[in-house]
Symmetry: C2
Subunit: 389 residues, 2 copies
Amino acid sequence: MQNFEYYNKTKIIFGKGTEKQVGSETAQYAKRVLLHHSGGSAVKSGRLDRVKDSLKQAGVAWVELDGVKPNPRLSKVYEGIEICKKEKLEFVLAVGGGSVIDSAKAIAIGALDDGDVWDFYQRKRKADKALPVATVLTIPAAGSESSISSVITNEEGNLKQGVNEECLRPVFSILNPELTYSLPPYQTACGIADMMAHVMERYFTKEPNVELTDELCEGTMRVMIRNARKIFSGGGEDYNPRAEIMWAGCIAHNNLLNTGRIGDWGSHPIGHELSALYDLAHGASLSIIFPAWITYNIKEDTPRLARFAAKVWGVDGAFYDYEQAALEGVFRLKNFFRSIGLPVSFADAKIETSRIGEMAERAVRFGPVGNYRKLNKNDVEAIYRIAAE
Amino acid sequence: MQNFEYYNKTKIIFGKGTEKQVGSETAQYAKRVLLHHSGGSAVKSGRLDRVKDSLKQAGVAWVELDGVKPNPRLSKVYEGIEICKKEKLEFVLAVGGGSVIDSAKAIAIGALDDGDVWDFYQRKRKADKALPVATVLTIPAAGSESSISSVITNEEGNLKQGVNEECLRPVFSILNPELTYSLPPYQTACGIADMMAHVMERYFTKEPNVELTDELCEGTMRVMIRNARKIFSGGGEDYNPRAEIMWAGCIAHNNLLNTGRIGDWGSHPIGHELSALYDLAHGASLSIIFPAWITYNIKEDTPRLARFAAKVWGVDGAFYDYEQAALEGVFRLKNFFRSIGLPVSFADAKIETSRIGEMAERAVRFGPVGNYRKLNKNDVEAIYRIAAE
């Protein structure tokens, strides 16, 4: 087990009707806030009005900025920064999913900085301060509601880049599973793939003696799988499976599950290139890449891949050798993704194979990716080719 | 699943050699601190000297107060409060196990209060402020290193009482598993029983649809059992089992495992009376009481008790009815406690049965105990009688 620090200050307010607490919680930090959202379902469902009512009752004023898209754009971030500076806003409240939250975090850094916020995403500078950010989560997926991460896409060059800094961790996040009833199935599924991937990136490690986090990861994944099945078998408006998925998605990325271990994190950048070039949803890029990643690494600590198959997918190790068991795990992982309507190949997503070389090059532009096994351009290209099949 | 708030601000610094960071971490909060410890093994092992060196290097001055005993005494707390007030100390640093930490927390409340600190433990007043507390943990057990709890014994009347307030949560805790190599087997075992009980108190709930926390509880208990076996099979100075136990003990009580559920918490007050009257170690009181508690409740949601047997103890449900499976679970729980040298009956601990009525009366002095099933005086007496056998 590696030495580690574990710290997570985000206050999670979880359950039915909790969005009504947003005003009183926000008022503890600020009286003038940027209210950031997509402008889509939050408005139509009346959810945003409930948030505004709560802010009003608590005496909190806001300026609204909507229009955030999936794979949130740098141009929108610039717009938000300008508003914050001009209107002297003290706080960024995100109502939405990971895209809105990541955009809010980027705005929060930029609002306290005089330079170009993209510098931080290009790793030219390190962000050490930001306006406080809080969230009302409506799409369980990215785990951004209690994480230090923000991923932004620069439209010029289709570059998708992330920043990870403690100052970006939300001060509070409100998670009401009822708000997720109206999510379209594809968005629900993409969210589940994203949170599964967050656990898998942590689970696949070469670090020995990490029993507790192994068990916690395996249990969390089993819960995601079982409850995804419930939601996709007509339980989309049942509170409990929605609640299990929402809480599991938060735990998946709050850093508990990688204490003492070094996760892989190769599949994320490999998937990012699919999103950047084809505007594919993040979760769908992961449902395509992760099975291919395991397949490509099948000789790489095969017992761990077999354990994943056994503990998470119920593959009976007694009837297989490690490699067979691991491959059976990949088969079940793909079946699971397919069963909730996600693509598991380029063909499924109607993505051409002609730009594989270019994507591989871009994926490793900062050097090899992944820790479980360092992947260079040729490795990444091979993974894309497996995924293309 | 119940609505919940989850918040835990304690920064955990975990791993080899981490006690050397105590000075720099403390200096972020205070320049004059109370250094609180038992005066026992921390001194002999040279551990306390390393802590002092680190404080010195960071320019932190301290006043020392040692002599904390298991089931920490109110008289020592009064002493600490007086020192803090007289010396204008700003921070309480506990180097030790749960007793030292709980004593430090009580001192931290009292140092900012003009009345009698025992009022808070008697539930006459609510504690809403305290000096910041931090810990260098040397005995994994109580989970007090990241919890809001403090339990103190008032020697007058042998009353053992607890306070649970957010202001008591340590600002940081340093967990170095190496510091636990020298723990005597009995203390190691008592710690393991205590952390097992913290999970069991949360696990036994009537709340349906708490799948994620069920899985996390079960995984955490399996890790405790497997690693306890390693430690007691000659692995007392192996880093990894000590590390798994130490981290699991912290997770057991940091409140993640009871999000969305209402735990039982009946066995703790029932055990407290054994500690108060016979000065029995807290963990040993729980290894006696918990199996008796399950046995007494065998008809109370038997499927959950059977699930505990199956998921935690590997009892094969297919060969038993629920009640038989649950009782087999109790059998294995007792065997486990015995195998690490803990008592599972009054006789094992050489405790007489003559004061059972008196203890039962005291255990319910604030009303019935437990949520899984409300236990009145007669119930508690029956549990003591099962435990006496």
